[in-house]
Symmetry: C2
Subunit: 214 residues, 2 copies
DNA sequence: GGGATTACGATACTATACGTCTCGATTTGT
DNA sequence: ACAAATCGAGACGTATAGTATCGTAATCCC
């Protein structure tokens, strides 16, 4: 099909340093097509949002991307790492600095909900969670990604601490679990939809706590 | 193999009323073996905790239970409802009434964590969550179960409200999401283990809120 | 420029598993 | 006795993961 696909080649950052994701990256012969790489990831995300993780087939990805199966397996040892890499391109929290912790959290959660959690793409999340329970290797692949995706949330807490708005000894990890947890449970475990307007109430409850005497 | 398996027949409660779970329950001929039914569910739970949901095979269950595949498919239309019914037998929250909301929540969460969440069986949870994202029917099967499993938690909130310990207009559903959510996220999404001693801090944070000025 | 090397898309192949079906034997109701 | 529905066992068709092999195309090294 196309021609002229050399590009600056910044994507496969580990080059031939044998990164953990590449199946093997030789240094002679025809180089791997960056076009095919992109097409595979795009097709993966497409199909992921259409049929979900469990119904995603490698053959389907190959066909949609217009590549052979070998071209996929040459890059990823199995379906799982492929989905993980595609997952890494999905929208995450975006940093918003409104000046107050409450404003930051509300804005970021709302944005994340609308941009990702409310789309069919969000189903990748529980699928990968299920998989990691019996595949520790997957956990190691995902954890850096997950931390990065949540980083803006942690940053908001740290800004609040620097401002003196929040005590310095508040456990930021636990706090962000308290923000994210209820949303995840409602969406993925209980199958509830969350209207964007609901995030304000949820953030407020997490910030002020359940305890409120009559 | 065995003999004498009639029993009081309390398990298949809907009898021949065509409940939503039985594939079809005729009223003539040889009755279905209650022994086989139990053996199938036991084998399902065994294998579920050993290999997880995605690696669970119906053939494996049949072999482990010592029954034919037809005996399984005669009772459950597919692997999914079988796992759901097995899920229904798993330990849930157990009601504890200590006299205070904080005491109730800490005791129940700790008990649930030790009895279920810290065991390999807990992996059924994210697996079913993943599946329901693309299978609304599964959601309908699970939701009553999930509500029932969480009922003791809601009851504790309602007791606190009746006692005047908690304002009557607190959203109990949201509150219990705030208790359960962080645990679920840590366990299933982030792959963290939770030491039983950590539940106290988590409950306290949910009760008093993140906001604590410097 | 030419040869070695590797990737390309396509497709045949093996192995596994779901869900259906049939088998002879068994257990019930009438 | 006879009909009906069960039992465990396993063959069968379909689908998919992952491997291997095809002839062709791109790039590196000499």
């Amino acid at each position: 099909m196309g021609s002229g696909e050399h590009s600056a080649g910044g994507v496969s950052g580990d080059a031939n340093g044998r990164g953990p994701e590449a199946v093997g990256t030789p240094s002679a012969g025809r180089p791997r097509s960056e076009e095919a790489h992109q097409a595979i990831l795009d097709a993966t995300l497409d199909l992921l949002s259409e049929v979900g993780f469990s119904a995603l087939t490698v053959e389907g990805v190959a066909s949609r991307a217009g590549v052979g199966k070998a071209t996929i397996y040459r890059r990823w040892p199995s379906k799982l790492p492929l989905v993980v890499e595609a997952f890494g391109r999905l929208p995450a929290f975006e940093d918003v600095d409104t000046g107050s912790l409450e404003g930051d959290l509300k804005a970021m959660l709302r944005q994340y909900l609308e941009n990702f959690l409310a789309t069919p793409l969000a189903t990748v999340y529980p699928s990968l969670a299920a998989e990691r329970s019996h595949n520790p290797e997957l956990g190691q692949l995902m954890d850096p990604l997950l931390r990065g995706r949540r980083r803006p949330l942690d940053a908001a807490f740290e800004r609040a601490q620097a401002r003196g708005e929040l005590a310095a000894d508040v456990d930021v990890e636990m706090a962000s679990d308290l923000i994210v947890g209820p949303v995840a449970v409602r969406l993925f475990f209980r199958g509830t939809t969350i209207h964007p307007d609901m995030v304000d109430g949820m953030v407020e409850l997490a910030l002020q706590g359940i305890r409120r005497p009559a």
